[in-house]
């Protein structure tokens, strides 16, 4: 709004200043022209008196000059052909008889040329505008008439007019600002509506719509286009989600058939140890297929739902998880060390912390078949709460770490996961405003980290 007013002010300034300068020169010209005209009128009246140089004849000329002065006219000096002052309209007549022949304007006028200009008068200590015209009688110059005017009169007149212009400009500005405020108000309201809707869509709420009846036609058209766009994107996303969900559900029926048939077959056969192992392997794959389907469904939900954040006691949750995993870790030959600070609370999606810790621990238990040490840490770092799980396995290369959070990425370790665990972790972290990362651990191993927003 302020910038808008600024632009209006600059526009007014740009148009007003040259206009004022123009006005000043017009006013000066106008005054000069009227002085010239008055000078010629006086010259006409003085012609006879100057011809005879009779004192009586000069009286009406002097009276005329005085009347002219009293009516707000200029100061008048009339000289004869030799340049001697014969008439002035000053209140004191002490200048009569003095020769002005040497003054340039009189010199010019007595030679038959009109002379105009400005000069500074030391006696009056002001800048004067003057016009000196010759008094002709036929081709002969009988004398000269000079009118002088205080130059400040022009400035005063120009200023008076400038004030008028300024007032007009101010009223224009005020009206302009009013119109601008009203216009920009509707404009801004329309854009705000659109902004709110756009932000909701960015958060994943495709049902959000901008109002189509706010603001000027262009904004309305934009809102309509935006609504069509978000509607179309929304239905595409829905369709894709539905497809993933339907596909996952549809896959369950043939898997069931396979499981039932396989078990039936197994029970009907007399199996050697070798072929029983092969059946186990098939059942194992079927179980993995099932987990994969569950994972895909979970991933679809994790990405789609706008879940609200809650305050979670990270210390208590982490301790409970570590306790739960201790026995399984021991069975697999691992020792689970934990360093968990007390009373740490974080903002996160419900169960996000548990799920992330579980995936990290599950992965850590799978890096080695020989066991080793796994370290769980929870601590405060600035305004974040950091969770980390470190193992002593072979670790990951930079390239592997870069891809580990991708869907279906399963690394090179031969671990038979679904390749969705870390993808789900990333989704949960993003929904919780947390960041997750994998780091090299010295001298060997991997540290999986999650940094949550502290709720303190």
């Amino acid at each position: 709004m302020a910038s808008f007013l600024g632009i209006v002010l600059i526009a007014l300034g740009v148009s007003t200043v040259p206009f004022a300068l123009f006005l000043q020169s017009v006013e000066r010209d106008r005054l000069q022209t009227s002085l010239e005209r008055d000078a010629f009128v006086l010259a006409g009246r003085a012609e006879e008196a100057l011809e005879s140089l009779d004192a009586d004849e000069l009286v009406p000329v002097r009276d005329l000059a005085s009347t002219y002065r009293d009516a707000g006219g200029a100061r008048v000096v009339i000289v004869d052909t030799s340049g001697v002052v014969v008439v002035t309209n000053d209140t004191e007549e002490d200048r009569v008889g003095i020769s002005y022949a040497s003054r340039p304007e009189f010199e010019a006028a007595l030679s038959g040329v009109i002379s105009t200009g400005e000069r500074y008068s030391e006696t009056l200590s002001m800048t004067l505008v003057y016009v000196a015209v010759p008094v002709f009688s036929g081709p002969n110059v009988l004398g000269a008439v000079r009118l002088t005017f205080d130059k400040t009169v022009i400035d005063v007149e120009v200023n008076r007019q400038l004030v008028g212009i300024g007032l007009v400009a101010l009223i224009t500005l005020a009206l302009g600002a009013l119109v601008a405020i009203i216009l920009s108000g509707t404009l801004v309201r329309g854009i705000r509506e659109l902004d709110t809707a756009a932000q909701a869509v960015a958060r994943g709420d495709f049902s959000s719509r901008a109002k189509e009846d706010v603001g000027p036609p262009e904004i309305r058209a934009l809102s309509r286009a935006f609504n069509q766009m978000s509607g179309r994107v929304g239905s595409l996303v829905d369709e894709q989600k539905r497809f993933a969900s339907d596909a996952s559900h549809q896959l369950r029926t043939p898997i069931t058939v396979l499981m039932l048939r396989l078990e039936g077959l197994r029970d009907s056969l007399k199996l050697t140890e070798k072929s029983a192992e092969r059946f186990d392997a098939i059942e194992h794959e079927l179980a993995r297929l099932t987990r994969l389907i569950d994972g895909l469904l979970a991933l679809g939900r994790a990405g789609a739902e706008a879940v609200s954040l809650e305050t979670i006691d990270a210390s208590a949750v982490s301790k409970e998880r570590v306790e739960s995993w201790c026995s399984l870790a021991e069975e697999a030959g691992f020792t689970l060390q934990s360093y968990i600070e007390d009373d740490l609370v974080v903002r996160a999606v419900p169960t996000a912390l548990e799920q992330i810790l579980d995936v990290y621990l599950d992965n850590a238990l799978n890096v080695s078949s020989l066991g080793g040490e796994i370290e769980v840490r929870l601590g405060r770092v600035g305004d974040r709460v950091e969770l980390s799980v470190s193992d002593e396995g072979p670790g990951m290369s930079d390239a592997e770490r870069g891809r580990a959070f991708d869907r279906f990425w399963r690394g090179s370790s031969g671990y038979e996961g679904t390749g969705l665990g870390l993808a789900v972790v990333l989704h949960l972290a993003e929904a919780s405003g947390a960041s997750v990362s994998l780091h090299r651990r010295e001298p060997e191993g991997l540290t999986a980290q999650a940094s949550f927003v502290s709720a303190d």
């Binding site: 559900h249 579980d358 789900v424």
Partner: protein, 224 residues
């Protein structure tokens, strides 16, 4: 055991029929809801297996109508395992809800369980205390004890134990336990369940209490 199977998909129907006939049960299959309802009112069945996605009507509607006149236990079979789907089916008259995929052992265990319950009579009040041999679980007070000695369990460990004890000897599928005990949005890792089972085994003092059932999940029973 006389079982009525209402299922339109020939592949899964065939697999189920074969599985049940393998243990010498009588199975009749119907493809539509209408035909199924006619069979229900005409025959004398021990258990009804009902698919939800039928061509002529919703399986839930079949369960609701069957329940108006009959008390035969109904097991709903569905590909949708979300809590809302299960609750709806159970509210409208189903006795159990089996989520695909499932194996033969689980199917048989579920059928036996609902059949047993229906014969015990349905008017017994819901038990708050479950005992399995020396193991005693009080759901109301959320306490568990073994041979008189109190077990110190985390909330989730208690839930898992209680879930397994609700039907001792039956094999419980991993996915079902996870879906029931954990939030439906849970996808931490199915190892989460193994972690809890390992912790429970340790606290119970004998790993034989909770037996791993290959390809299915877990079963709770008193060690021999």
């Amino acid at each position: 055991m006389k079982v009525l199977l209402i299922e339109d998909d020939a592949a899964i129907a065939g697999a189920i029929v074969d599985s049940l006939e393998a243990v010498s049960w009588d199975v009749v299959r119907e493809e539509t809801g209408q035909a199924g309802l006619a069979r229900i009112s005409a025959g004398d069945w021990d258990v009804i297996l009902l698919d939800l996605g039928l061509p002529d009507m919703d399986g839930i509607e079949v369960a609701r109508r069957a329940r108006e006149t009959q008390t035969i236990p109904i097991i709903v079979i569905s590909a949708r395992g979300e809590e809302s789907d299960r609750v709806l089916a159970l509210e409208l008259g189903a006795d159990d809800y089996l989520v695909k995929p499932f194996g033969m052992r689980e199917l048989l265990a579920r059928i036996r369980a609902v059949h047993r319950r229906s014969h015990q009579g349905s008017d017994i009040p819901e038990q708050t205390v479950v005992t399995v041999g020396d193991l005693r679980i009080d759901a109301r007070e959320r306490r568990a004890s073994l041979g008189g000695g109190e077990l110190i369990l985390t909330p989730k460990e208690f839930d898992v134990l209680h879930y397994l004890a609700s039907e001792p000897e039956a094999a419980h599928r991993r996915e079902t336990i996870l879906a029931d005990v954990w939030d439906m949005n849970w996808y931490g890792s199915t190892k989460t369940l193994d972690a809890h089972v390992a912790a429970l085994r340790k606290k119970l003092g004998n790993p034989a209490w909770i037996e791993s059932v290959r390809g299915v999940g877990f079963r709770l029973h008193q060690p021999q």
